[in-house]
């Protein structure tokens, strides 16, 4: 483990990943300080004006919106759109900050849940084998017969808009990889003498899987999970971009990019006039995913026994 950590910190690529990740964790933790919420639901992006057109960075909150907050007795601690506003006056900076929390929430919850389902299915299939293995693996095949994005899009459309629906859809079609990987590892590990010894001692099957097999086989799954967080966040963002993800005005990077889509070309002769609408949320998504991919990629190289001693 120490060796792994040392490698993670000595490799330039993974070090960059770790730094980026720390940056995002800090943003997520200090979100209420960086961008104090103006409404009761902190994930609702405040609007800086009622204007449809995006406004450039530094745009001050328009008077009628300030009046509205004063009227309902809210103190406006935060009245400047540091990164400009998106279509409809939504404040980009606020969306970026709280969107970080959304991204962590989506990434960690979906990957964790998908991993649990995968581990459960895969380990049971491999350990008990025979017809149970056959049935569970055919079910896995069936779920794998859908392009991930298409399946997630269809299920979200049917369930309706909302972050929870998006997460359900991502979990429902995101567990199969883990099941396959853990099945492969357990199939070879269950022939080992320590498993036979445990069986001979009369240890229950569940305990053998949980206490003996999983700790010895889980590493490849964890690497896969770390690489998958990025994929899940991107897919959620893509769904928002396509217009089936988070509800209107929710602090979500994908939706902010979709706000930007109509403005990216700019007025004739002023290409790039509204660059800030796509630049900031776009760069946040890219860096977030990059962080996880850099870490996951190095982890894979380090923990792959075939590559050991070569790094």
């Amino acid at each position: 483990m120490n060796r792994t950590l040392r490698k993670l910190f000595s490799n330039a690529a993974s070090l960059l990943g770790i730094i980026l990740l720390i940056f995002f964790i800090v943003i997520a933790v200090f979100a209420p300080v960086l961008a104090p919420p103006l409404s009761d639901d902190p994930y609702q992006i405040p609007r800086m004006s009622w204007d449809v057109n995006p406004q450039p960075p530094g745009f001050p909150m328009s008077d009628n919106i300030r009046d509205m907050y004063e009227y309902i007795g809210k103190e406006v601690k935060y009245d400047k759109a540091l990164c400009g506003t998106a279509q409809g006056g939504y404040d980009i900076f606020y969306g970026l900050i709280w969107g970080t929390r959304t991204a962590f929430k989506i990434g960690i919850i979906t990957v964790f849940a998908a991993m649990l389902i995968g581990l459960f299915t895969g380990s049971i299939a491999a350990y008990f084998g025979k017809w149970l293995d056959e049935i569970l693996m055919r079910i896995t095949d069936i779920f794998l017969s859908f392009p991930f994005l298409v399946a997630a899009m269809v299920l979200t459309t049917i369930l309706g808009r909302g972050l929870d629906k998006v997460m359900i859809a991502l979990i429902a079609f995101g567990w199969m990889g883990y099941a396959r990987v853990i099945r492969g590892s357990i199939l070879s590990a269950k022939e080992e003498t320590y498993v036979m010894a445990a069986k001979a001692l009369g240890v229950r099957d569940g305990k053998i899987i949980w206490r003996h097999l999983l700790p010895n086989t889980i590493f490849p799954v964890l690497i896969q999970a770390s690489m998958n967080i990025g994929t899940m966040v991107v897919t959620a963002a893509t769904l928002s971009f396509l217009g089936v993800g988070a509800p209107m005005g929710y602090a979500d990077w994908g939706q902010m990019v979709s706000f930007a889509r109509n403005w990216i070309i700019g007025a004739p002769g002023h290409a790039g006039q509204y660059w800030y609408t796509v630049f900031y949320p776009g760069i946040f998504i890219i860096l977030f995913v990059l962080a996880w991919n850099l870490i996951g990629d190095t982890l894979r190289d380090i923990l792959d026994p075939r590559l050991r001693g070569e790094l």
Binding site: D141, P147, L149, I158, T238, F241, G266, A271, N293, R306
Partner: protein, 345 residues
């Protein structure tokens, strides 16, 4: 070999039943009224309770689960997929009309992906851990981290917004007039670039190509990054094998070792992945087509999803799942041809 193919074919019905059943399960999450809406082209019918009741019975939307499934499969096997509100025409017609556009896009995207991906992957592995490898790897990870929709918007911004070279859509207005309504233009394949060449109409060909370039760039960048990673790790693996060491010890020159001895073996798994990649692109086309308003299946499905046009969305899922099942079958069988070990499993 034949035994393997037969075994693989026997699995096909199981998968098909499973896939349709899973889609039907998703479909059943909707209420009978919502499901009925996918069959009628006139929303006012739904407001009339008696008519709605009659139609729900007619389409067996209220049947118990297994019966409903059987009725539904019967209907889709007759290609009766309902009415697409997003396209304002029957779902099956909508699919037929849009399929060639998507096919054209995928065909043109696959070739650069496979060639560039494999080539860079091999180079990266040969130069393992030095500057070339590191820079190729970083480019690939960046590509892999770059969400298709953001990269697409970037391409749109640069090549359309700033340079004005690659417009969105499939054809310019003047070209649409010639292709869709003109009398002298015959659509043989419905792939506009090929039809234009067959008709000898070079301006149309150029126009179609200009519209295709941007979505092709978008689709391929993300996927070559993926293929590169696979090619690299497979090549790295092979280069460590004993027979490579033997070849080097014998004094075989490095070029032959890499291109004759290692590459051929290393690329076997890459072939499978490449097959899966083409199938995986089916997801990417939704995004690429939406960004560039390219009138294919993906754009239609995304529009349908936004409008809660469930019938179109379900049909789209069904179609893409079937394409994927067939694609997987082809990949598995061709893999057995390439790698004899697979047959013995």
């Amino acid at each position: 070999m034949i035994a393997y193919i037969i075994r693989r074919l026997l699995l096909l019905p199981v998968i098909l039943i499973g896939v349709t059943f899973l889609i039907f399960c998703m479909f059943s999450l909707l209420s009978p009224m919502e499901r009925l809406a996918t069959y009628v082209n006139d929303p006012s019918t739904l407001k009339n309770p008696q008519a709605a009741e009659r139609l729900i019975n007619k389409y067996h939307l209220d049947d118990p689960f297994p019966l409903g499934y059987i009725q539904w499969v019967k209907r889709i096997s007759k290609l009766d997929l309902g009415w697409s509100q997003a396209a304002n025409q029957p779902v099956w017609d909508a699919i037929c009309q849009r399929f060639p556009a998507t096919l054209e896009l995928v065909i043109y995207s696959v070739v650069p992906v496979i060639l560039v991906g494999i080539w860079l992957g091999v180079i990266s592995a040969v130069h393992h851990n030095d500057v070339i490898d590191q820079s190729i790897r970083v480019t690939a990870i960046v590509g892999w981290s770059l969400p298709t929709f953001i990269f697409g918007l970037l391409v749109l911004f640069i090549f359309y917004g700033m340079l004005g070279w690659l417009p969105p859509g499939r054809l310019s207005t003047w070209a649409q007039d010639i292709v869709y309504t003109g009398t002298n233009f015959h659509s043989y394949t419905h792939l506009v670039t090929i039809d234009a060449l067959l008709n000898g109409n070079i301006p149309i060909f150029v126009d179609a190509l200009r519209h295709l370039c941007a979505p092709i760039i978008t689709l391929s960048y993300v996927y070559w990054a993926f293929l590169l990673r696979i090619a690299r790790s497979s090549m790295l693996d092979t280069l460590r094998k004993d027979y490579i060491r033997t070849a080097r010890a014998k004094g075989v020159d490095e070029h032959t070792v890499i291109h004759k001895h290692a590459e051929r073996n290393a690329l076997i798994p890459v072939v499978t992945i490449a097959g899966m990649l083409i199938i995986g692109m089916l997801g990417g086309v939704v995004v690429a087509e939406t960004v560039f308003t390219y009138p294919g299946l993906g754009f239609w499905a995304a529009t349908a999803a936004q409008q809660l046009d469930y019938g179109s969305v379900i049909a789209f899922a069904l179609l893409f799942a079937l394409l994927m099942v067939v694609g997987n079958l082809v990949v598995d069988v061709s893999y057995a041809f390439i790698d004899p070990r697979v047959r013995l499993e």
